[in-house]
């Protein structure tokens, strides 16, 4: 078994259209590395929400910019990282929508659910600058429990 398992897309375009394929490809690697499909589906959703956040906030009102995606499964955790070169936006400043009250339509959220899902589906999120990139990262405690044969690099890994 080779640790860590790693999947990298070094340069994609941050578009809503690319989100589905990137998240699905990443989830495919997680399943291939031994993560149960239901759990991989959860992380696919978290990753899709992270990419959407970059598209909507980091490159809001601009042409789609570069995006780098990295997925690492080390011994005890999985790290999902989405890096961009757009505007700094702070996911920690986003308030979660209120608990929806069935009797009160003013509490039914039409937005803000993406970050709530990321927080619920992962254990820890980070936001920092490194090497000219702004990195949005989420960590999930998940021991690597099955034997895997080799590490996997992305389609345009450096």
């Amino acid at each position: 078994m080779t640790l860590p398992q790693r999947f990298v897309v070094t340069r994609a375009e941050a578009t809503i259209e690319s989100t589905h394929d990137l998240a699905e490809e990443a989830a495919g690697h997680l399943v291939a590395w031994g993560l149960p499909p239901r759990r991989a589906a959860d992380l696919r959703l978290a990753l899709a929400e992270m990419i959407c956040n970059v598209c909507r906030h980091a490159y809001a009102g601009e042409k789609p910019g570069p995006l780098r995606l990295e997925l690492i499964w080390s011994e005890d955790d999985i790290t999902l990282s989405v890096a961009h070169q757009g505007v700094l936006f702070d996911p920690f400043s986003v308030k979660e929508p209120p608990e929806p009250d069935p009797e009160d339509p003013s509490t039914w959220p039409e937005g803000g659910m993406g970050l709530m899902l990321i927080r619920q589906l992962t254990d820890f999120i980070e936001y920092y600058r490194s090497g000219g990139w702004i990195i949005f990262s989420a960590i999930v405690c998940e021991p690597l429990r099955q034997t895997v044969s080799s590490s996997t690099d992305g389609h345009d890994d450096a």
Binding site: I16, H20, R44, L45, C52, C55, P100, W108, L117, Q120
Partner: protein, 109 residues
């Protein structure tokens, strides 16, 4: 995502198939709200073939529910797959939507 609609009087049934994500949500929202604008008072959203939903997909459904309320119309979801049910529960929106096992149950309600 495939979207198909059936209308009978004030009842409209919309069948969705595929992933209801940020890319597809605008078209789904438009289709749902068109049905309300055309006078549907009972709108059944059959999600039996929806294998993925994200926050944008949820937002499209919530917007439709809010628009329906303004028209005094009803919206019901049915045929939730485990993936969709799980996301509805994570966001607590299962408490807001009326959910039926399948389209027949939703139509007969």
């Amino acid at each position: 995502m495939d979207i198909s609609t059936k209308k009978e009087g004030q009842l409209a049934v919309i069948e969705l198939s595929g992933g209801l994500d940020a890319k597809e949500a605008p078209a789904v929202k438009k289709a749902l709200q068109s049905l309300l604008a055309e006078g549907a008072m009972k709108l059944v959203v059959d999600m039996d073939a929806v294998n993925f939903i994200d926050s944008s997909g949820l937002a499209a459904l919530v917007s439709t529910l809010l628009a329906a309320r303004k028209n005094k119309a009803d919206v019901a979801l049915c045929g939730l797959t485990p993936a969709v049910r799980s996301v509805l529960e994570l966001t607590r929106l299962h408490r807001v939507f009326t959910v039926y096992e399948d389209a027949t149950a939703a139509i007969d309600r």
